[in-house]
Symmetry: C2
Subunit: 328 residues, 2 copies
């Protein structure tokens, strides 16, 4: 569904900014805390993190034609904006706390469309107990819809991308590839999984997969190490398999397409994989797969990703992840 309308009386311009903000506060219900902790002043005053927790913050945007198009319902778009940010908090092992929302809107944005957008946004906030504490609305050229969330969360043991060690096994939640078939709009951010993993000292490093395994995994590989990956172990999604002519193409999709929003992490070699899987399955329902391990880099100057089955750089499969400013 297109966010815009040709009928001025059905557009947000007919409301004006103040009325639109009143509607948003109403649509968001008890997700908006009372002042001074919510909307209505020059800034929001935030409660301090719980004892022993640190504040972590991240930001992610949702832009018309970049992150969604008319094939998405407005509810899906609103959910995606929330869930993109929740996925980043999950990768830090942080409990979701609050959102600050900035909207840049053309005046032809439809009243109906934005109401349903907030329906989806509210649903994700409700599910993950996130408060909307503030934001900003700006006018923008006609047929613009651009929304950014800055998300705050609370982490007892923040998980970083750095920290992987030689011998660590590499794991991924869920399955990869084919996200464009629909998962990119309807995914579950791995919030509970991220919290569970961050509580384990054996988990050394974590990231969420947004630009594709091939582009995101190198961020977990410290200097001097390589990621030895078994391509045959990579969990291919049903969507990747169904839309690919063969398994090689499905693997390529899993490596490069992006927007998987799964967690990728390094686990200490001190934990036997079977024991880890048992503990995981006792606590979580999401599938989990070991896809490789961190090894000392060899030969010199080797690429960070190594196909441990063909014993050659994984880059032979062509490993460019999603690039935001592709020149062509």
């Amino acid at each position: 569904m297109n966010p815009f309308t040709d009928h001025p009386d059905q557009s947000i311009a007919a409301w004006g900014e103040s009325v639109l903000i009143e509607h948003i506060v109403q649509w968001m219900g008890d997700r908006v805390p009372p002042p001074p902790h919510g909307i209505g002043d020059d800034a929001a005053v935030l409660p301090p993190p719980p004892d022993g927790f640190q504040l972590v913050m991240t930001a992610d945007a949702l832009v018309w034609r970049s992150h969604f198009d008319a094939s998405a319902s407005p509810e899906q778009a609103g959910r995606k904006l929330a869930n993109r940010n929740l996925s980043d908090l999950a990768a830090m092992g942080a409990r979701p706390g609050f959102f600050i929302l900035t909207l840049q809107l053309g005046k032809n944005v439809s009243k109906t469309w934005i109401q349903w957008f907030f329906h989806g946004f509210h649903e994700a906030c409700q599910r993950h107990e996130v408060k909307l504490v503030g934001g900003d609305i700006s006018s923008a050229p006609a047929s613009t819809f651009s929304a950014s969330v800055t998300a705050g969360g609370f982490a007892k043991h923040p998980m970083f991308r750095t920290g992987g060690q030689a011998g660590d096994s590499i794991w991924v939640t869920g399955s990869l590839g084919g996200s464009r078939q629909g998962k990119h709009l309807d995914f579950s951010p791995r919030v509970q999984e991220g919290l569970w993993l961050a509580e384990r000292a054996a988990v050394h490093a974590m990231i969420d997969l947004t630009d594709g395994l091939a582009k995101d995994l190198p961020a977990l590989v410290p200097n001097g190490l390589q990621a030895a990956v078994r391509p045959s172990a990579i969990p291919l999604s049903a969507d990747a398999l169904q839309t690919s002519p063969n398994e090689e193409a499905a693997l390529h999709a899993a490596l490069t397409e992006g927007e998987d929003f799964e967690l990728l992490f390094c686990l200490s070699s001190a934990i036997p994989p079977a024991q880890f899987i048992e503990e995981w399955e006792a606590a979580q329902h999401t599938p989990i797969t070991c896809i490789g391990m961190l090894i000392p880099a060899n030969p010199q100057n080797a690429p960070p990703l190594w196909d441990s089955e063909k014993n050659q750089p994984l880059s032979d499969v062509h490993l460019e992840g999603y690039e935001h400013f592709r020149a062509n």
Copy 2:
């Protein structure tokens, strides 16, 4: 200067996202703290507020053609983005702390333009000791430039819009109107002034003037009160006077044009104005003016703003402030 280029090799698309981020980190220098407190992970871990301080957060955007046009230099645009947010923190009486920046960029944004944009942004961050701790870059349709900052600050005694009492005098810093002549690009956010005012228990309520006195002052007027304003006391800027055919038109500009980025606040009647001015002038260089007072609303259902000289609603002068989604 236009942010866009027709030459692909001079555009940010020629760099790609990763290289652009590397450049931004370099341009921002020591304003970017080392990980995990800065850029480079899924989220930034923030240091806790200093003892006795609360975290306050706000957000404001800068959109091409809405908040600046080709008459602005890229440095001015970058400074304006930072200073808009600093003005909101000032209105809370908060010490600036950190920024999170989200950019939505068409791939034809010029490398040179964005470098100078960050030159201005960095300058404002440096001056007010703000760190850039994270952000996000998204691709957007061609000829889009949209930037949002979420700003965090630390307040010992956060100042709210609510809190004004009958008998309070109403004060404004600096002078108003004519901002479009250039001040909207080159203003000083009243950070030190806001901190000084927030330390005084006699200051009951505060806001920064972004949409014009006529639209912003009612936010300081509690139910049951009116703001009795002496129009002749409103400090008119030289720009408003020079570009208006007469004083009435300059007053209209001061009331309605917006983007003054001055502080407006309510002061307890327990403090004699002369004493307050003396204390202010001993500490601050910015001019300050008393423009009216809060009085009990009379007659019933009177508008919030009252012309105390003509003894009629101030709305006769036409008091619509800047409206972000004007339908016409």
